[in-house]
């Protein structure tokens, strides 16, 4: 059962998909599993939907693992899923959210890459699609979105880690989300979770121009990192992608923001320069616990500031 599932170790794709099925079976009135598409290598792409009813309620999107080697993010996604089922009906904040909104959680956003990290190359970041005319494999799925696509901050070279792909949405892993989010039409928050370097970022990454809601997003980011730090003192920096790290074009949250999803954020989880993508499993649960506080802050704010 998901009560005896070990949240303190890293799991492979089959184990994670098995966990999702268990969670759905244990909470049929709260959790359902949607298949939103297939990967390049024809694996199913699943999203967990947490809903207490209603039709096309305003919704919150959370994804983990778009960069396959960032294992602490998929592991945190598993923990978030369990936490939602535990807290609904017990935690007033989460209960209020789910009484009026739905939460969609994609735990393994890049399944092909994730399988590859387990079987062949632990440090694989991209998708596994082939590019005609190149011997190099994969596209950076966080440079493949239709937001400043192909501009500075992404590479046109298929052999680099930030290759943007032939065209926006060329990756089925990206296109599946784009189609789903567009067809849903009522997402109010979009949160993409990466590792590492302890940052909370908001649009834009492809331009230095501030987003129209820059001040509000900055204030919310400040509140979220304050909540996050309250548990273990983990310090986050926050700001627009462009200002806080570097120019990055074609990213998911820039696309989401341009779709009208105001509360669009990217987390970069632990650490700040000791383990990088190889965060010890003993840090999974503490990382997920503190991140949850930041997520809750954004989700609560979204609920009380619907637009």
């Amino acid at each position: 059962s998901t009560d005896t599932f070990n949240y303190n170790v890293y799991h492979n794709l089959d184990e994670i998909y098995g966990f999702m099925d268990m969670l759905v079976a244990e909470h049929p009135g709260l959790v359902s599993k949607l298949e939103i598409g297939k990967t390049y290598e024809a694996r199913p792409i699943y999203v967990l939907k947490f809903s207490t009813g209603g039709n096309n309620r305003p919704a919150i999107w959370i994804d983990t693992g778009i960069h396959s080697r960032e294992w602490v993010t998929q592991a945190s996604g598993i923990w978030f899923a369990k936490k939602i089922t535990q807290d609904y009906g017990n935690d007033p904040g989460l209960t209020a959210i789910l009484d009026s909104m739905d939460i969609f959680l994609e735990i393994v956003t890049n399944p092909d890459g994730f399988v590859f990290t387990h079987k062949k190359n632990r440090l694989w970041r991209k998708t596994r699609s082939l590019t005609a005319g190149s011997s190099c494999v994969g596209v950076d799925p966080n440079r493949n979105w239709d937001a400043g696509f192909g501009k500075t901050g992404a590479s046109s070279n298929p052999c680099t880690e930030t290759y943007h792909g032939k065209f926006a949405n060329s990756e089925s892993e990206v296109k599946s989300i784009v189609d789903f989010v567009k067809s849903h039409g009522n997402f109010k928050a979009y949160i993409s979770i990466h590792s590492y370097s302890q940052l909370l970022l908001y649009p834009y990454g492809y331009t230095k121009d501030p987003a129209a809601d820059d001040a509000e997003l900055e204030g919310l980011a400040k509140s979220a990192v304050t909540a996050l730090a309250s548990l273990y003192g983990t310090k986050y920096k926050y700001g627009s992608i462009f200002k806080a790290i570097y120019v990055a074009s074609g990213s998911s949250i820039d696309w989401a923001y341009n779709q009208g999803i105001k509360y669009s954020f990217t987390f970069e989880l632990r650490d700040t320069g000791r383990y990088g993508f190889l965060l010890p499993a003993s840090q999974i649960v503490p990382t997920a616990q503190e991140t949850w506080l930041g997520l809750q802050t954004i989700m609560n704010y979204t609920r009380t500031h619907l637009y």
């Binding site: 070990n6 170790v9 890293y10 079987k119 062949k120 190359n121 632990r122 440090l123 052999c159 680099t160 880690e161 930030t162 590492y196 370097s197 790290i245 570097y246 320069g273 000791r274 383990y275 990088g276 993508f277 190889l278 010890p280 499993a281």
Partner: protein, 96 residues
């Protein structure tokens, strides 16, 4: 599985825009097979770079020649990967 024996992750501190640009030049040298864990940004922001063993000397010489400071963030990537793998195997054995 791919082998990362001897690969190091360097934390580079580019003090000014010129040094950042020098690190960007490194990014373009495909034969070094470098992997930026945290790419070049503003001066003062750390840059983390995984360097395969055969490229280590060249990269360190390049950085030192341009006065760019760095520290070794991970001394041997494979050691960490082995520990991670052992932990997963141990868990599966216990679970079985």
């Amino acid at each position: 599985k791919d082998d990362f024996v001897g690969h190091q992750v360097l934390r580079i501190s580019a003090a000014n825009e010129a040094q950042v640009q020098k690190v960007v030049e490194l990014e373009e040298l495909e034969h070094l097979q470098l992997d930026f864990w945290r790419g070049p940004g503003q001066p003062g922001s750390p840059i983390d770079l995984r360097v395969p063993f055969p490229s280590l000397q060249a990269v360190k010489v390049f950085l030192e020649a341009h006065g760019i400071k760095y520290t070794i963030m991970i001394d041997d990537v494979q050691t960490l990967l082995d520990e991670e793998e052992e932990q997963m195997t141990a868990f599966k054995t216990r679970a079985a």
